[in-house]
Point group: C2
Chain length 160, copies 2
């Protein structure tokens, strides 16, 4: 099994997408994060849902969470206005790095090694040729785990 | 809305659970991670699916992913044997910290502040009283995002 066979569609947004739409997408589909693509459609970062929460919460409350209790309910209701008019690119943490990139011909073990080394929840599979760069899909850790367990015939077998 | 109303069931395992069963649970339910409970049933850590991948991949391949290509297919098939007979507690990274813990009476904003500060994908809601400690459930970042968006009536509204 090669990376191109393992790659699946994954919810993604552009750096130029509306931050509020991205937050809605995470909320409605119960996603732990989104893949963010740059202007050329290449993987730029993984945006965790917890980062969107961080954008919503006033800085002084993050520094001292005990202050959350003193923010009145009405103010809390207005939190999401922090997302209105903002782009996804503005919500990325300063430390955001591109996700690991696998070649379509990489083996499952090569993808696993990349994922383990980078401690990443997903690997993007990208084909690069003369016509440019194309995202084929994403391999999540749980999908790769399933593939590796299937290979050894242990999925669904009695507990070891 | 208080933390106790937001808390939901979440797939969890014990430190003493079989590592292979835990990997199967992640694979079958497509989970990005599991909540790990200690011997007393208290939240001990979050076990990401990528960490299970790391346990599967031989150390020399993680150090040098180019070596993955030279591991023959037959060897790759045996990878999952690395999980057989191991306990979940043995698979946790040395740096594993307990997830943030919220009190049942915490407000959504207090939970959000905690999540943002710890950059955690989830917060565990725990009731502590004279009879001991009881896990009420977990609040994920996407669930909290949904709650905060719902409050402001922006979920499903036209793009901002």
């Amino acid at each position: 099994m090669r990376a191109c066979d393992l790659a699946m569609e994954y919810e993604s947004v552009s750096v130029d997408s509306s931050a509020l739409d991205a937050a809605r997408l995470m909320a409605e589909h119960k996603l732990p994060g989104l893949l963010v693509l740059d202007e050329r459609g290449e993987p730029k970062a993984i945006l965790p849902a917890s980062q969107m929460i961080k954008v919503l919460v006033p800085g002084y409350v993050i520094e001292d969470p005990t202050l959350a209790a003193v923010v009145d309910e009405q103010h809390a209701d207005r939190l999401c206005q922090a997302l209105a008019g903002r782009r996804v690119g503005e919500c990325l943490p300063g430390t955001a790095a591109p996700p690991p990139i696998a070649d379509p011909d990489d083996t499952a073990l090569e993808v696993a090694a990349l994922m383990a080394q980078m401690r990443s929840p997903l690997v993007a599979v990208v084909r690069k040729d003369k016509t440019g760069t194309r995202l084929l899909g994403v391999i999540t850790a749980s999908h790769l785990l399933r593939e590796l367990l299937d290979k050894t015939g242990t999925l669904g077998a009695p507990g070891a």
